[in-house]
Symmetry: C2
Subunit: 343 residues, 2 copies
């Protein structure tokens, strides 16, 4: 269903999910097109980014960011066009990166909005390799992972927008790069298109053994965005002085209770001690937002030169967003999943 010129459709948070979000979690409502006031602009959202962190915003568990209120528009990054503007630096027809949310239109006072000009080449890439996921990959790898040539880098969710970028940057920096992904199709893509040295299928029988065989020199850096069984397989392979940037734990987001024991909390601490590891969590805009200009010029150049490939999965129609998001949490996305709103 295409966007209307007079109405705004938006997904509001109807109830907080217990476990996996379902069709009761979000509700599509329609309202009149909002009118921009003084110092505001009206944005038409062209692409909506779907990202695992959104699951956290649906919950009211303590977190680094405030939850979406019940009845509030679901938050999300968007690539949008400026329709009308009373904000300095933004004019009609400009393409912008904004937090426009899960809706057709949004008002903005320009805070946190990046202007891409009138004719960006791949506007939606600003939601992926050239945006938050790309910055997450580059900053987490370089600032926390601190890779050195010849080291072994293991990347979970290797066909996703963060993992794919981490691994390709790791190759550029001279690492031996092993991906972990779900299913043979993704694994083939990770090796053949993205150029990883190997990719291990976490859904296949014998996954821990296959991972071990793929890292004969152990693991120096593990880029963590999954947790769970993938982390379990990684732990015994970690080398002394391993670094683990932690930007996500997608396998855990829908969990409603802790898994059965034994309790391995102190076991993990013991591994960190004995292997003299560094484990560091980060939230990209909080911790590394100041590095955005360096990221944009460095990674932007690699993308332009074709040294970093980027795979996008475009799904048409705002109404598809909830099911596409549920699938994302299930590991069904293949590449960066975005919703195209214009239809």
């Amino acid at each position: 269903m295409p966007q209307s010129d007079t109405q705004n459709r938006k997904f509001i948070l109807a109830e907080r999910p217990r476990g996996e979000p379902d069709r009761n979690t979000l509700r599509l409502v329609t309202e009149d097109l909002p009118r921009p006031g003084r110092g505001q602009m009206l944005l038409r959202n062209e692409y909506l980014s779907l990202d695992p962190y959104m699951r956290g915003r649906m919950s009211d568990a303590p977190s680094y960011a405030a939850p979406v209120e019940i009845g509030g528009v679901m938050v999300g990054g968007t690539v949008s066009q400026v329709l009308r503007s009373d904000v300095t630096g933004f004019a009609e027809g400009d393409w912008v990166v904004a937090f426009g949310g899960w809706q057709d239109y949004a008002l903005s006072d320009g805070s946190g909005v990046i202007n891409m000009g009138k004719a960006p080449e791949h506007p939606s890439w600003a939601l992926g390799v050239l945006g938050m996921p790309g910055l997450t990959a580059w900053a987490g790898l370089t600032q926390i992972g601190q890779p050195e040539a010849g080291e072994t880098l293991v990347v979970a969710a290797a066909s996703g927008p963060v993992g794919a970028t981490v691994g390709q940057i790791g190759k550029i920096l001279g690492c031996h790069v092993v991906g972990i992904a779900g299913g043979p199709k993704k694994c083939t893509h990770v090796v053949e298109t993205l150029g990883f040295d190997a990719c291990v299928d976490y859904k296949a029988d014998g996954f821990p053994e296959a991972l071990k065989a793929a890292v004969p020199d152990g693991i120096d850096i593990y880029f963590e965005n999954v947790g769970g069984a993938v982390l379990d397989a990684v732990l015994p392979c970690l080398n002394p002085l391993a670094r683990i940037p932690v930007c996500g734990l997608i396998s855990q987001y829908n969990a409603t209770s802790l898994p059965d024991g034994p309790d391995r909390l102190n076991f993990l601490m013991g591994q960190i001690l004995r292997k003299r590891m560094t484990v560091r969590g980060f939230i990209v805009f909080n911790d590394f937002g100041h590095l955005y200009p360096e990221f944009a010029s460095t990674v932007g150049a690699w993308v332009r030169q074709g040294r970093i490939h980027y795979r996008e999965e475009v799904i048409d129609g705002l109404e598809q967003a909830p099911s596409a998001f549920i699938g994302l949490l299930r590991g069904e996305a293949f590449g960066k999943r975005v919703i195209r709103l214009a239809g």
Copy 2:
């Protein structure tokens, strides 16, 4: 029993302990005084350090250091005197810090031995505040903890040689310092003699609530050398961007199996992510040995100026070492526990 001039008593590892070491773990054997060969020196051990890491050396579980062999002399840091020397830089009568082991006499080729000269003021302190525990405290706090004035620092095992030093350095650097120790006597010492702002008794009822009340602004740095129930109480109080230097997990060293569930491994990873924490394990000589000169001058000056107090618990007689070590693991030591061999 004093040292003999002709015989060497030594504790050898008789069997690997399962759980807590007991009287079958180590065996005292007597042999003729060893004779130094070319390029060697004969040391008479005056003080033997007892340290929690020794429990790890009794095990053959994978670790950063090779285990003591069955039948081998139990390893340990010593303050010793040179009796005869064919090693450049060491002469009869010199006091040295060495890894002389759990025995009356030791041979050495000088590797890793530090010469303290003929008349050090407090020779045994080189096993504590001016030695490995002191370097552990200073380096772990400054290099990983990276304290800033006004931050809250929580120190486990606060009356021990590492914890006491961490907390006093934290005070010098302007932190709000809260110790955790076992029993009212130690807690009083930590506050009244060491000058911590507060100390919480982990053996008392309501310990987690008491800790929470003692850190009204949360915890920015937790210096971890205990694990277990102490860590459990600390976790909910940690602030965003908290740093956790991990130099030990004494509560876990005698564990023979993992505790019952639920499994909190991914819970801990989630805390690290959401709070953007840095958790880093370290082994002091591997990671920070190169900082020893800076440590010695900085912390040495604070000790001479009386800004750092040091409490030592001297136990006479090599034959007391096993029971003193078992007690150390039980938390019975009050201050740095050393064995005086000369008797």
